[in-house]
């Protein structure tokens, strides 16, 4: 082992004094280390997934199950709410994708609550790493999961009759919007996880908050057929706007209108509000 030498009293504090002569340290500027540390932690989360069958089921089987259930059990019902010429499968696949993204955001909260419980957060905070990377790395991993879940849903959707546009530009715009939504929701999930603190609470309360929101939207049926007093909310909430925009882009119904711009605006505002709150809550979580 190396001999540890402490500095003479005159040593400048900036100098690192851990002495490991044969070790090779990487120097990075602060912004670069935020990114590199986030990637290290994102890799950690992604490595965990295939080893946790319950999570794997959540991100693969669940969206497929939802898609098949709605396609074959409620397909006729959904079709009845749509104008002639609009196919229920096209409508539903987009809804299931967005629901998968929304549920996926809860993983961010669950993961952070778990890290706190297992003492990993304390260890990370005692390392010379970028602190925000703990939250950001988790979110990057969850974005990766969102892409995976979305891809599976689209592929299974194609098998059961999903017929989207083949226009590349429309696809890029739609995917961009969905990823932005996933990113913003992950920050919200982080806040819920840091706020509720325990894995169990995030699971029950988090989903109780999020679940109705996905139904009080155009996720599964045309909101024109909702009770009148719900329509105002259901037609203008961000999930519906995102669905209107992505459906408009990929399947041509409903009309896209200005929903794409509106949802982008909503999401950017949400991001500006949520990111500082989440990072501050993380700092506070450490000092409790």
């Amino acid at each position: 082992m190396s001999t540890n030498t402490l500095p003479a009293p005159t040593t400048a504090p900036e100098q690192r004094i851990a002495t490991s002569p044969d070790l090779d340290f990487v120097r990075r500027s602060k912004p670069v280390s935020v990114v590199s540390d986030s990637l290290i932690l994102a890799k950690r989360h992604l490595m965990r997934i295939p080893r946790q069958p319950d999570w794997l089921v959540g991100v693969t089987i669940m969206p497929i199950m939802f898609l098949l259930l709605f396609r074959y059990i409620f397909g006729e019902t959904v079709q009845a709410t749509l104008p002639p010429g609009v196919d229920a499968v096209n409508y539903l696949v987009m809804g299931i994708i967005v629901q998968g993204i929304v549920f996926g955001a809860m993983n961010t909260g669950l993961g952070l609550a778990m890290d706190a419980k297992e003492g990993l957060m304390d260890r990370f905070a005692s390392l010379p790493m970028a602190r925000s990377a703990v939250v950001l790395g988790r979110i990057l991993a969850d974005m990766g999961i969102a892409i995976f879940t979305t891809t599976i849903t689209i592929l299974v959707g194609l098998l059961v009759g999903f017929r989207p546009t083949t226009n590349v530009g429309d696809w890029i715009a739609a995917i961009g919007l969905m990823l932005l939504m996933a990113f913003v929701l992950a920050w919200l999930g982080a806040i819920i996880g840091l706020w509720l603190k325990t894995v169990e609470a995030v699971n029950s309360i988090g989903f109780t908050l999020i679940f109705p929101l996905t139904f009080l939207s155009s996720t599964f049926i045309n909101p024109d057929f909702l009770p009148g007093w719900l329509q105002g909310f259901a037609k203008n909430q961000p999930f519906t706007l995102l669905l209107d925009a992505t459906r408009g882009l990929l399947t041509g119904f409903p009309e896209i209108g200005n929903s794409a711009w509106m949802v982008t605006l909503y999401l950017l505002i949400a991001l500006v509000v949520l990111v500082p709150i989440a990072l501050r809550m993380y700092e506070r979580r450490l000092t409790q």
Partner: protein, 338 residues
């Protein structure tokens, strides 16, 4: 009986006037201590005494309300980033990723310590070898025993061979065999010249590992010194007897006081553990007084199941200082600010 103060260069950890409250709970009520470079300081106290709070402040996880802290010559409050590059922390719960393998854990932590991937991998192999975990290197931690997990946790805090290591109750919850294993590992570390600050509720652990001991209770330092110094505060040897159940303990107590009193000044009272039918009294006469003591106990009609002379333990120290044993204290203040 304070720790020798050899000037700044000699102290790897300096704590001065440290205060921290959580709401109305005063976790640290102005504590001072130093850890000399290359030594082990045992921060000893019951649950809720403020040990963990002190460690959290020293490892940059918590900001104090008042006071000055320096680790490895670096002001912790002014330069937390530099402190983090020079310390290792092993907490009460093994803070490692359960789902990753031992090797993956160490590589990840190595990279977060700013090692290149190549260096991180090489270091992971070295540490796994050193901590007897090579065979389990590619197994996920779910398959590890408690002792293996703690060793991996300790290995993770040694990746960059930091000059100062904080071990917060490193053996809490381990079985005796694993505890001995951890003690050996920690002892090796100290032999390499690392400065260690160790918190513990186990008096035996502080006795075995620490060069100096600081006893904390309710956020204050109530005693400090070497284990021997603390024990000598309590005078010399003790006479401990166990009597058969059903014996009149007050008779036994009176007899012991007479015995102890006849051989010199009695400094301290008879400690009675009624559950174990065990009584202990300071006994200045030592081995020479033992035959006489036996005769008197026999004359009093007491039926002994055991009799022993022993040096005071740190349990006795704690009892003398606080009026309670460490265990009673821990029971009384569980859930008190950790």
């Amino acid at each position: 009986m304070s720790i020798r103060q050899d000037g700044r260069g000699e102290a790897a950890v300096i704590v001065e006037g440290l205060e921290k409250s959580f709401g109305s709970t005063r976790a640290l009520d102005g504590i001072d201590f130093q850890v000399k470079r290359g030594t082990v300081l045992g921060l000893l106290g019951p649950n809720g005494a403020g040990k963990t709070t002190a460690v959290r402040i020293l490892t940059t996880l918590l900001k104090p309300d008042a006071g000055r802290v320096e680790v490895a010559g670096i002001d912790v409050l002014a330069h937390p980033d530099q402190v983090r590059a020079n310390i290792g922390l092993t907490g009460q719960n093994a803070a490692v990723d359960e789902i990753l393998t031992g090797h993956e854990n160490l590589v990840m932590f190595g990279q977060l310590y700013r090692l290149s991937l190549r260096s991180a991998k090489q270091r992971a192999d070295e540490l796994l070898e050193r901590f007897d975990l090579s065979v389990a290197a590619n197994r996920t931690l779910k398959t590890y025993s408690g002792g293996m997990r703690r060793r991996l946790d300790l290995a993770a805090s040694l990746i960059v061979s930091p000059p100062v290591i904080f071990l917060d109750e490193p053996t809490t919850g381990l079985d005796p065999r694993s505890r001995n294993g951890m003690w050996e590992v920690i002892q090796d570390l100290v032999d390499d010249g690392t400065t260690v600050l160790l918190t513990t509720q186990y008096l035996e652990e502080a006795d075995r590992l620490a060069d100096n001991i600081v006893v904390v209770d309710h956020g204050r330092v109530i005693a400090e010194g070497t284990a021997d110094q603390l024990k000598s505060q309590l005078g010399g040897e003790r006479l401990a007897i166990s009597v058969s159940s059903g014996t009149d303990l007050s008779l036994a107590e009176r007899t012991l006081l007479e015995i102890a009193g006849s051989t010199g000044k009695v400094d301290g009272e008879v400690q009675i553990d009624a559950d174990a039918n065990q009584l202990t009294v300071p006994f200045a006469a030592g081995g020479r007084g033992l035959p006489d003591a036996l005769r008197r106990l026999d004359a009093a009609g007491l039926e002994l199941t055991d009799i022993a002379l022993r040096r005071p333990t740190l349990d006795d120290v704690f009892l003398t200082l606080t009026g309670r044993t460490a265990e009673q204290e821990a029971d009384a203040s569980t859930e008190h600010a950790a």
